[in-house]
Symmetry: C2
Subunit: 341 residues, 2 copies
């Protein structure tokens, strides 16, 4: 009996090989996750094009691709610029659509910028795919922020999307456009709803894109990690290489099309996470402090991802323990601190 | 014991009086619902300002306010134009935010236009309220399209918002911004998720904003009402005066702030609705025809609204029977046909 999904036979460990000589576009490819993905793709001779606007505070960092700079095509441009997209989108076989505004508090201060990046640009990209590249595969970077305050744990993909900030509303709309373009126009689009991703190449200059990198910096400087509240709020931390595995699977497997998947790995209380970081860094200390008002307002409570859907449909599982991931993260920044501090 | 919500004592029948001499802004006020609302407000000497862009095919019609033209301030302008909003928003005590792109199929053809009206302009308006008019009350025009294909009937407000088209995604985001600005900044914003509203002043030139007006026109011309499929798909029709009642309540009651409410009235199969229209018009006939492809794709199946939340919190109930509503609708167009055909 023929296998109805020929891509289902690809074992996760062999997934990288599917990208050999593939034309891959990574929006936001100078950022943390995009650049880590680029390294993996270059290693199998994929033809990688990176589109990145190098926005201030976005996490984009040219050093992220320094060692592969001559093996990727870098286009400095903005996903909000239709011409930049029109030059690149029609030629791609796979698009990892990672460009996005990430800050929860920033989205409340500058909601229109967040909207233009996370909604308007997404529709522009999808329209180009629909009209000029209907066979492309697209993987969208969703976020657990789409769920807002969890109504139950662990959160599965059927949980209502009741975002608690502008960023979450816009990311929800951005994802919905992708899935809609699958349903209406047959685009092979999928979304990964990421929780707290950590690891090498994350920006370390501010805390507005997640706390883990910021905690690592405090510890490595021998400083004090300030954990808000009682430190018992649960996050679901995923090491970046595991996220890249999931991206590669979602961009190769037919079963991903039209689907949104949770990512997650190691649910842990923020206080314990901070202690683990101090241990990995070999220095620093942890202090509990009251919530600042702006942070309290966007705090959504405990989060634990139910990842059974992506395990079942794509065969993905996180492979990196928290201690291993933190050790590798600290080792990376020990070596490359000057480019990130 | 003092009443915690002084506005709760306002009986629905007396709600109009709450608007005497109030400064009220109606975006989209030349349209079907907005202009009907304007008539009610003018009758109690509210100071009504209408902002309307008179977009082609939008349903805006200057004839809708002909008889009250000298009693309202009309500003031809677009909610996408920040300056037009900045002139009007800071002065309003109540904003009925009815300007929106309504077409499901149109939103798939022109998704960016739909996004700019239904998302981007909404954020612009809310930012103005937040910074320059934080005490304003705002009522947003939501839609049952936000629910997508119902997962159960009747649909209550906790039903997942899984819109099946771009318009629904954008209206969902537009509503979410309103409720978020209540939660974060204390704006007294609410949303009414309307189903099929019908009655006088609806545009009659095309069928892209709902079928009821279009059916009425076919019948009044002695023509054939074409009902797609088997005619058993259920809609929840609400007469426009009842919708205006709900708008006035939501704009006056403290209990509305931060809430989304379903509207609905008379669940009925489209085939039966068409027969009722033929009866009200005294002419025409009904024919079942296969679904055109574009309509089939945005067809979301039966819809029945659970309206217990707005009954409980605001004391609203629809007062107009389907037969009465259709009779008044036909009578209106008999008299004013030349301005709508």
């Amino acid at each position: 009996m023929p296998n109805p999904d020929p891509t289902a036979a690809i074992a996760p460990g062999l997934i990288d090989q599917q990208y050999a000589r593939k034309r891959v576009l990574i929006t936001g490819g100078l950022g943390f996750i995009g650049s880590t993905l680029a390294h993996r793709l270059v290693a199998v001779d994929a033809e990688v094009v990176i589109l990145d606007a190098l926005l201030a505070d976005s996490g984009a960092n040219p050093h992220n691709i320094e060692s592969i700079r001559d093996r990727v095509t870098l286009r400095i441009g903005d996903v909000r610029d239709g011409e930049a997209l029109a030059d690149l989108v029609p030629n791609a076989q796979v698009i990892f659509n990672l460009a996005g505004a990430l800050s929860h508090t920033g989205s409340m201060a500058n909601p229109l910028e967040d909207l233009d990046i996370n909604c308007r640009a997404q529709v522009g990209l999808l329209e180009l795919c629909r009209h000029r590249n209907p066979d492309v595969r697209i993987v969208y970077a969703g976020t657990r922020g789409q769920y807002g305050r969890p109504q139950y744990l662990p959160v599965d993909e059927r949980h209502p999307l009741t975002s608690a900030d502008t960023n979450g509303i816009n990311k929800t709309a951005g994802e919905a456009y992708h899935l809609l373009y699958h349903e209406h126009f047959g685009l092979k689009a999928s979304s990964l709803r990421m929780s707290n991703t950590y690891g090498p190449r994350h920006q370390m200059r501010h805390h507005r894109q997640g706390v883990i990198g910021w905690f690592v910096r405090q510890a490595m400087e021998g400083g004090t990690i300030k954990v808000f509240g009682d430190g018992r709020q649960v996050r679901d931390a995923t090491y970046v290489d595991d996220v890249v595995d999931a991206l590669l699977l979602a961009g190769a497997r037919d079963a991903a099309a039209g689907q949104a998947f949770n990512l997650g790995s190691a649910p842990i209380a923020l206080g314990e996470l901070a202690e683990a970081i101090v241990k990995a860094a070999g220095r620093g200390r942890v202090e509990l402090v009251p919530y600042p008002e702006a942070s309290r307002r966007v705090e959504v409570g405990d989060y634990v991802a139910d990842i059974s859907k992506i395990q079942r449909l794509l065969g993905w599982s996180p492979a990196t323990s928290l201690d291993d991931g933190l050790a590798r993260t600290v080792a990376f920044y020990e070596q490359h601190k000057s480019n990130y501090w």
